[in-house]
């Protein structure tokens, strides 16, 4: 990892995991609904040193299957056991309609002992270099990737929304996270 990213633990590999929100639009009016991460055995028990929420630049298009893992990171740090590249990034999914949707998303993560290590962590705080501004993706040169240090149980971890975000019904929105681990 580059020194200026704000972490002081080096990662060995990184894996990008998508969570599909609102598979059924009738769920749209239910804040605090839990959207669990797909089964990702590569991450279970791994020591997570960074998490980045991708606000749009690296999220693939709508035809991506639910639960598939997308890798488009430098080959030096991608996982050997990943499911491979699905397709190249196809523009922002979050931010359609001019709403900064990452401000309505919270991340909860459990460790391998089934203990909550991150409880309702605001995803906007994990956005790093990419920020959503009025529906357009902008780069933030001052952004930092949050440094973490815990082992993850990805199967028990989930994303919640804090509000009814009706704009999301226009697209099957994807919350895309990059986990840096060792």
């Amino acid at each position: 990892m580059e020194e200026n990213l704000g972490n002081n633990l080096e990662c060995i590999k990184a894996l990008r995991v998508n969570v599909q929100l609102y598979e059924d639009v009738t769920l749209n009016n239910k804040p605090n609904f839990r959207y669990y991460f797909p089964e990702t055995p590569e991450l279970n028990g791994k020591n997570i040193v960074n998490i980045k929420f991708n606000a749009g630049a690296s999220i693939t298009g709508q035809d991506e299957a639910i639960g598939q893992v997308v890798i488009d990171l430098p080959s030096s740090i991608i996982s050997e056991n990943s499911q491979g590249i699905i397709q190249q990034p196809a523009g922002p999914q979050f931010g359609v309609g001019g709403v900064d949707l990452d401000k309505y998303l919270l991340l909860t993560i459990y460790n391998e002992k089934k203990q909550q290590v991150l409880s309702s962590y605001p995803c906007h705080d994990l956005a790093g270099y990419y920020r959503n501004s009025g529906g357009s993706l902008v780069t933030d040169s001052l952004g930092k990737i949050r440094p973490f240090d815990f082992k993850i149980d990805i199967r028990s971890s989930f994303v919640t929304t804090t509000s009814d975000i009706s704009i999301l019904t226009e697209l099957p929105p994807i919350a895309c996270f990059t986990f840096y681990y060792k």
Binding site: E3, S120, D140, T162
Partner: protein, 156 residues
Amino acid sequence: MWRPFLLIHKKMKPIKNSYLIEVNLGSTVPGAGANLTFQDYPQLRNIYVTGVEVLDASTCAVSPSGRAVVTVLSGITLTLIDKFNQEQLKQYPAVDLNPEVRSGFYRDFVPFPLQLTKSFITILSTTSLSANQSILLNIFYVTEAEAQKTLRPRLK
């Protein structure tokens, strides 16, 4: 031995655990000088706090309980009490704990045992605050067991 309270790191320390807590202003905005105490969060008993973020609506627009988040932190301060009833943070400006205005960094502290139920927020100015808005704090911590293993040598 003199020890600076705020550690100055070139890089941020890794976060072991975090917990998002909420303080609601109530049905009427408290007057200037009012103290708002925190409710008891069982998960935050017997912990050592390592860092704090105070968030406004630009980071988290709606709280987990569905309430709007304050848009301005400039009239709010934070006082954190440790388990020995000592004020470890006293009237610390909340805006300085917002990573949005700290170039993305969070403030990390020399870990101390937090007594959350005696800690409080002080409203210095009600400008731009509205009824039923909430203030969000993201508490970074290690458990007492983790502190015994990792922090004790440093704290002696």
